[in-house]
Subunit: 125 residues, 2 copies
DNA sequence: TATTTACATGAACAATTTATCATATGTTTA
DNA sequence: TAAACATATGATAAATTGTTCATGTAAATA
């Protein structure tokens, strides 16, 4: 990763000077640090698969057990469990066990707002 | 895709009845149609890579030419162009040509809001 | 008009992601 | 305690994605 940057600077960049040095400097100042960028892109990655998005959307209004989620997304229990694992890792869903069943629900208040804004945005055009 | 669903229903689902049939029916009613789900997940996919997210973040406050974007994200011109292609396809950025340079900018008013909410969400914990 | 500059793109390869299959774990029930 | 049920998970294969390299195109300029 570091080597790549060195390569670019020496071989590929548009000479020594950028076209709008001030804009570049300003953008670099305002840029969130790499940790935040990786965390944020991971967060969005959770929404970037239609099966996961279906799971998230289904959970917005109520908690559901895994079996019902399989029914709703039309996928195997194993596939759904793997996706839930991803969503758990991103702390988008939480779960509680009740006997043999495990109930999942949204672990965050912002999720619904983000989905709502996005859907309304995409519906506009 | 269709065949997969049939397989699941006959081989894998938890018998004939779900655990909470009403909840499943309700979730299925409220579920956006598949076209919307694919479109929305594609939209989020644009944000799911840290290089693309860096490009988007840089463009939020101003338009930038490709060369300056390369400088900011620290990647080759080719890599950045390929990413811009993805962002164009999702209609997240627009561009205008000015002589030899091409200037990119955000093609949507919701983008900043979505990023802002997400960053604030991730900063909370 | 030949060259240079800025950017785009196709092909190939590497890395990552997703689905499937088999199996393991935790809980209830016979 | 054995069997059944609901869910989780590791390994593998298939699909997708991201980067690089080589080359193509449009505009400016020598």
């Amino acid at each position: 990763m570091e080597y790549k940057q060195i390569d670019i600077l020496t071989e590929e960049s548009c000479e020594e000077l950028h076209h709008d040095e001030a804009a570049v400097a300003d953008a670099e100042t305002k840029m969130p640090d790499d940790d935040m960028l990786f965390e944020a892109s991971d967060f969005f990655k959770a929404f970037s698969d239609s099966s996961r998005l279906k799971i998230i959307t289904a959970l917005v209004s109520r908690e559901l057990c895994v079996c019902d989620l399989c029914e709703i997304v039309g996928q195997s229990q194993s596939a759904v469990s793997h996706q839930l694992r991803v969503l758990r890792a991103s702390r988008i869903v939480k779960f509680r066990r009740e006997g043999k069943q495990v109930f999942y629900s949204i672990d965050d208040t912002h999720i619904e707002e983000i989905i709502r804004i996005t859907i309304s945005h995409l519906s506009e055009e």
